[in-house]
């Protein structure tokens, strides 16, 4: 179920402001692609354009192509709701539905798909997804408790479980660990290693150690100054980006000599 994404000449706008310019990128299936770069360079904006979440902001739009498995996500007649059902997303701040139980949180996406689930099927999905997110052992005896009662790291894993419960083709993660403590961060990094066996994963991170630890390929975004659009400067195998990048700006950034 994991799929390749081909982005070509993608321009991303907020109203008349061009935030990200001319990105062309190939995202391989069953791998982790990390996006790094200074803040404000458009990493989140780019990531959100991959599941058409960008356009929920009034005035936001894109030009160019994002092709998932042969289909242009921005093609005529493509329903953004359907796109989001096959490209899952995990946000920077954990956002389980606060009034829903853990159990119902995991099933939230399933229920949107209007599938009538038998209780036994639902139970199986919940257990499978929570195991997939490495959370099952911690919550199995309190599935009926509200999701908001968990710790930050647990909430984030609950959000991952919720995202994978619908078996998306791609999983997008926008700085999923930046609000978490180091132990929870490690737990999620381990989890990503597991998940890439089944999913195409794209992760935005400002933590370069994290990018080098978890990802197979890394893209470096940069911005020339405020008001200028962000650009994809370089994209390559993670080892190459961190040891032997071909662009000076990339080297400066990954070696911490940025500014």
């Amino acid at each position: 179920m994991s799929r390749q994404i081909d982005v070509s000449d993608l321009d991303i706008y907020y109203g008349s402001f061009l935030a990200v310019e001319k990105v062309t990128m190939e995202i391989k299936p069953r791998s982790i692609t990390a996006l790094i770069g200074p803040s404000g360079c458009g990493k989140s904006t780019f990531l959100r354009s991959l599941n058409r979440m960008h356009e929920v902001i009034p005035g936001a739009r894109v030009e160019g192509k994002v092709v998932l498995d042969g289909q242009d996500l921005y093609g005529p007649g493509v329903d953004p709701v359907a796109v989001r059902r096959s490209v899952g997303m995990v946000f920077q701040n954990p956002n389980p539905f606060p009034t829903m139980s853990i159990y119902d949180n995991v099933l939230a996406g399933m229920r949107l798909n209007n599938k009538r689930l038998k209780r036994s099927e639902a139970d199986a999905v919940v257990e499978h997804s929570l195991r997939g997110a490495n959370l099952w052992k911690e919550v199995q005896d309190r599935l009926d408790r509200p999701g908001a009662g968990l710790s930050g790291g647990q909430q984030q894993r609950l959000c991952i479980a919720r995202a994978i419960a619908v078996q998306p083709q791609v999983l997008l993660m926008d700085e999923p660990c930046s609000a978490l403590d180091p132990i929870s961060t490690l737990a999620i990094e381990d989890l990503m290693g597991e998940l890439k066996k089944e999913y195409t994963i794209v992760i935005v991170t400002h933590n370069m150690q994290q990018a080098s630890r978890v990802s197979d390929r890394t893209g470096f975004f940069n911005i020339e100054g405020t008001g200028k659009p962000g650009k994809l400067v370089e994209m390559d195998a993670t080892d190459t980006i961190f040891s032997n990048p071909s662009v000076k700006a990339t080297e400066d950034y990954v070696s911490g000599r940025f500014g």
């Binding site: 599941n51 929920v56 059902r85 946000f91 956002n95 539905f97 606060p98 509200p146 959000c159 619908v166």
Partner: protein, 311 residues
């Protein structure tokens, strides 16, 4: 040279804090004093009616028999008004907060706020002279076609000044406040929760169901209770609109025999009332006071239970 370490202990409070906490406490106490004062006043003034022999009370059968129909009238008009107003108000609020394009939603919000500014006597005149008459054909149709439902048993009033008309006018009156407050809470739904739903592939309505309504629920309850409170106490509009005949307890909403509400009963009779009759009316006021109090209390309890997180 001796150095003095500044004292870290001790509770020297800053003057600003003192003034603020003092005035906050004073206002809280003042509110309680006013409440207690009103309650005591009502109790003292109503006392003669509470102890008077049954045959001296208006109607000749005692205070309870006198009060019961008007209490019933108060509750039934207010509750029907709320049942009619809440769904519409919430719908309007959702439309303004999450569906309408920004221009339209601002204009609509403005119109709703204007509705709230219309004085109740104007609603009363309009309800009595225009709305009630316009509803007569509907009531006749209801009585003829669905008369088997006790609520529409008929025979239909020929003036249209029925319980249902009063409830409808009240519904229009409480709509703006419920809708305006609900809109405010809906607008405050955290983007994070809305995006959580959207990113799962929720349509706009599903996003509202998952994120907006759960977040706004306690606010909508408070807003509804404020509306209910206003409907319970509304005087002028009901006095004008409802053609009341005392001591009719009926669920027939479109008939000719309608119980008045407490507020309307007091407004109609207060000018000429003296002595025991006056005490009786004040006793009715006391009942309304207690009822409104209970409604607010229940609302508060409901809201805190919601916030407790048990779904």
């Amino acid at each position: 040279m001796t150095t003095t370490t500044p004292a870290l202990t001790g509770s020297r409070r800053r003057p600003g804090d003192k003034v603020f906490s003092g005035s906050a406490a004073a206002s809280a106490v003042l509110i309680l004093v006013i409440l207690a004062g009103v309650g005591l006043f009502l109790l003292a003034e109503a006392y003669p009616a509470l102890v008077a022999p049954a045959d001296e009370i208006e109607g000749g059968e005692g205070l309870v028999v006198y009060l019961w129909p008007i209490l019933f009238g108060t509750i039934i008009t207010a509750v029907i008004a709320m049942l009619l107003a809440v769904p519409v108000a919430v719908g309007i609020a959702l439309f303004i907060s999450h569906y309408a394009p920004r221009r339209l939603s601002q204009a609509l919000g403005y119109v709703v706020d204007l509705l709230a500014a219309i004085p109740s006597i104007v609603y009363g005149f309009w309800g009595f002279q225009v709305f009630a008459l316009a509803l007569v054909p509907l009531y006749q149709w209801l009585a003829e076609n669905v008369g088997w439902i006790p609520l529409f048993a008929g025979p239909a009033s020929s003036t249209g000044r029925t319980i249902l008309t009063a409830s409808l006018v009240l519904a229009v009156m409480i709509l703006p406040i419920i809708s305006a407050l609900s809109r405010e809470v809906f607008l405050q739904t955290p983007r994070l929760h809305e995006e959580a739903a959207l990113a799962l592939g929720a349509t706009r309505w599903e996003m509202i169901k998952y994120a907006v309504i759960p977040y706004g629920r306690s606010g909508v309850i408070s807003a509804s209770m404020l509306g209910l409170g206003r409907a319970l106490g509304e005087t002028m509009a009901v006095t004008l609109v409802l053609s009341a005949s005392t001591s009719a307890i009926t669920f027939n909403l479109i008939g000719t025999a309608n119980p008045p509400t407490i507020a309307a009963e007091i407004a109609l009779n207060f000018p000429e009332a003296t002595g025991l009759r006056l005490s009786t009316l004040i006793a009715a006021g006391l009942v309304l006071f207690v009822l409104t109090f209970a409604v607010n209390f229940a609302a508060r309890a409901l809201v805190t239970r919601q916030k407790g997180g048990s779904t």
